[in-house]
């Protein structure tokens, strides 16, 4: 019978060889995928820390550049923010829809570190085209420091910013540090 003929074909040796080849193949592929997955995670962690610092430095430089003074402290929605080494409160001339300065009116911004996150608050004058609001601008921050060129912050004309973002993935630390020096163009 044809059916009987077909069920007869595999010996134990053949089966063992077959299993061994399959096991080696699986092992190889699994190893390949695990290392693939690791490097994918590493890449993501490394990208996220460098993006975090890059976007933060870009935003804060833009804000400080346009500020006419650093404010010693200011209340935003009932919370007082005081300019120090991890918080900066800025007074920035308001702008109209064409992005030109409206003389005599001012917006205020705060950048501050809260545990490992940096938040950005904007409190705009009613006539300004800047939108008031609140956003998380950077996370995984391990250190942030603002250094002012004058011990009286309201007299400062230059700010040194140093930021470090850090992320731990499977015992491996990914870190990105940036330093920027910005002058208050409107002071």
């Amino acid at each position: 019978m044809e059916l009987k003929k077909l069920t007869k074909g595999i010996t134990l040796i053949e089966l063992l060889i077959g299993l061994a080849i399959f096991a080696i193949l699986i092992l190889f592929l699994a190893n390949f995928f695990v290392s693939y997955y690791d490097s994918f995670n590493n890449l993501q962690a490394s990208n996220s820390v460098s993006e975090s610092t890059g976007i933060f430095i870009n935003s804060i430089s833009n804000a400080i550049r346009q500020a006419d003074s650093i404010v010693s402290s200011r209340v935003f929605s009932g919370t007082t923010y005081t300019s120090n080494s991890t918080t900066i409160v800025l007074e920035i001339p308001s702008i109209d829809a064409s992005s030109n300065v409206i003389l005599g009116t001012y917006d205020h911004m705060v950048f501050y570190l809260d545990s490992s996150n940096i938040y950005w608050l904007v409190d705009s004058n009613a006539s300004s085209s800047r939108k008031s609001g609140y956003q998380l601008i950077a996370s995984n921050i391990s250190s942030l420091s603002f250094t002012y060129d004058d011990p009286i912050v309201t007299s400062a004309t230059k700010v040194d910013i140093t930021i470090t973002a850090q992320k731990l993935v499977k015992g491996k630390t990914f870190q990105s540090s940036l330093t920027q020096q910005v002058y208050l163009r409107n002071k």
């Binding site: 995928f33 693939y36 993006e51 870009n58 833009n62 006419d68 003074s69 992005s99 300065v101 001012y106």
Partner: protein
């Protein structure tokens, strides 16, 4: 289906496993590639955005430079710089201010990854100074003689007036006493400062004082500077209330913000009423300012420099605190006194609205009101319903003059005496020496000029403003004396209300170097010129014609004539086309 077929299809297991694994592999690969490509895109944008910002900033510096090369420059497009291009657009805000807007694109405008627009205003120095009178003289008085000597305009003197023909009003205020009764002004450069007018708790400054004599208050002076553009402040004299400012004595004056500059200078506050204060009693003078964190005042100060009082900071009508440190005294001077003044002789006024006003008026023919306490030989009798007029501050403050000097002192100065005998264009320029213009030469002024020595114009020579001054006035500041003779000519830019002004800080003829020369002597010549010698004397003789005069003492003789221009009430002094366009602080903005 036959069993044969089932078994045949089992043979395809390897293909199935391969396909599943491949799909899995491609999914992971595509997720990774998307992540990498997003990252690359973001990084490219961050780099391009940073490049765009720096290109735009380079563009705005370039635009300012082009503007200084050519004041008519309005911008250009597609200028290459580094990895990108930028477009410049310049629009006029007013005659002395422009808005520069620069948009940059990386790598180019048609296919840009990032773009930034940087805007800022640029201005050429411009000062607005009011000349309310054709002739304004200080306590030296104003003396006219010789037939035909005439002022077409109003005259205000802080001393006596001897009139010939004055077509407007003539007012002679009582003489101020030149000696300060109380002062705190040492050392010359203040060791400390007091900032006020910036927040509500430090809105106003108060200084207590005691007078040594019971004389009428004349004026106070403060050594003060400003930040931004604060409003005028009110100066009040108050009684003492438990070592703080108390109720008002009724004496108030105005601290004119336009006389205060961004560097320290003495600014005089003329007090319009003159009641007598009691010697030895404590009074307070309060500078009652606004509250603006970017527009405020800074007063020079020292620690315990004034023994008869102390400084306080706070709010008029509110609470007062000690200064920080607590022993600060502001820099101030108090002038007392004021003798009565007189107007004598002449024909004054052309309409019934013109005013002749002094303590004593004699031998005058008056067309309008005659206010005086005593009078004789006049065509009208005295109307004594008005008290004697109060002295007026001179148009320019020390700070104004210093700003003119600063404008002139850009670039390298010319060292030594300068003799100009052929047509010359100059300015802004400082000359460390004397300047003489002779032989009919024409000096075309393109920016503020500062001459540290003496200045002479002879032999039919001419001083004229460059046409780029437009309707603005131009300045030549001189530290020494000025002599204008032999048909000297003066012209403005060609537009209405534009005049050259000669400003000397000399106190001639009182100083030894003067050799009895006046601070300005104008003997024969003509033209549209303003002469200012607030510390010295000006003498005008023989056929001279000019536009405005302000001096400590003015003497006009021999048929000379002054024709006042109403436009001088709001004179715009420009540093000229040769002056530099500079960015205006507080107008810089960045947008995407």
């Amino acid at each position: 289906m036959s069993m044969n077929n089932v078994l045949k299809s089992e043979k395809g297991q390897v293909l199935m496993v391969t396909i599943i694994l491949s799909v899995f592999f491609f999914i992971i690969l595509s997720v990774m590639l998307t992540s990498v490509s997003n990252y690359v895109k973001n990084e490219r944008y961050l780099v391009a955005s940073s490049q765009a910002l720096h290109i735009a900033e380079g563009g705005i510096d370039y635009a300012l430079n082009q503007l200084n090369e050519d004041t008519g420059y309005t911008g250009e497009s597609d200028v290459s710089l580094g990895e990108g291009v930028f477009n410049i657009n310049i629009t006029d805000v007013d005659s002395s201010e422009k808005l520069i807007s620069v948009t940059s694109y990386v790598p180019n405008s048609s296919n840009s990854i990032a773009t930034k627009t940087v805007s800022a205003r640029a201005s050429i120095s411009d000062h607005i100074i009011a000349f309310h009178y054709g002739v304004q003289s200080g306590n030296g008085g104003f003396f006219m003689s010789g037939s035909g000597t005439k002022v077409n305009g109003n005259v205000y003197s802080n001393g006596n007036i001897q009139a010939e023909i004055i077509t407007g009003s003539a007012i002679a205020a009582n003489l101020p006493n030149a000696v300060a009764d109380q002062s705190n002004d040492s050392p010359l450069t203040p060791t400390d400062s007091i900032t006020f007018g910036n927040t509500s708790s430090t809105q106003d400054f108060a200084q207590s004082f005691k007078l040594s004599q019971s004389y009428s208050f004349n004026n106070v002076q403060f050594y003060i500077k400003k930040v931004g553009s604060p409003s005028n402040a009110t100066v009040r004299i108050l009684y003492d209330n438990s070592s703080s400012p108390g109720s008002s004595t009724g004496i108030t004056g105005t601290l004119s913000a336009s006389q205060v500059t961004t560097s320290y200078g003495w600014v005089s506050i003329t007090l319009p009423t003159t009641p007598i204060l009691t010697a030895g009693q404590t009074y307070w003078m309060v500078i009652d300012a606004g509250s603006n964190s970017s527009n405020y005042y800074i007063l020079g100060a020292n620690q315990s420099g004034y023994v008869n009082g102390l400084g306080k900071i706070g709010k008029y009508g509110g609470s007062w605190s000690n200064t920080s440190p607590s022993t600060l005294d502001g820099y101030f001077k108090i002038y007392l006194g004021g003798q009565t003044s007189s107007i004598s002789g002449g024909t004054i006024g052309t309409t019934s609205d013109d005013i002749t006003w002094a303590n004593s008026v004699t031998n005058a023919t008056v067309s309008g009101f005659l206010y005086c306490q005593t009078g004789s030989g006049n065509n009208k009798s005295c109307d004594n319903s008005l008290a004697d007029p109060d002295p007026q501050s001179m148009p320019l403050s020390d700070g104004n003059i210093q700003e003119f000097k600063d404008e002139a002192a850009v670039g390298d100065p010319i060292e030594g005496n300068l003799s100009i005998n052929s047509d010359t264009t100059m300015g802004p320029k400082k000359i460390n020496g004397d300047v003489s213009i002779t032989g009919g030469a024409i000096l075309t002024v393109t920016g503020t000029i500062w001459i540290t020595g003496n200045f002479s114009l002879t032999g039919g020579s001419t001083v004229q403003l460059d046409s780029s001054y437009g309707s603005n006035d131009g300045i030549i500041v001189i530290d020494g004396y000025v002599s204008l003779s032999g048909n000297s000519q003066f012209y403005g830019s060609g537009q209405e209300h534009s005049y050259p002004f000669l400003v000397t800080t000399s106190s001639c003829p009182d100083d030894t170097y003067c050799g009895n020369k006046d601070a300005i002597s104008f003997g024969g010549g003509s033209g549209t010129v303003g002469l200012i010698a607030q510390n010295g004397a000006v003498s005008i003789s023989g056929g001279s014609a000019l536009k405005a005069l302000a001096a400590k003492k003015v003497v006009m003789t021999g048929g000379s004539e002054l024709i006042y221009d109403e436009g001088l009430v709001n004179s715009h002094f420009s540093s000229g086309s040769g002056g530099a366009w500079q960015f205006v602080t507080g107008t810089y903005s960045v947008s995407n």
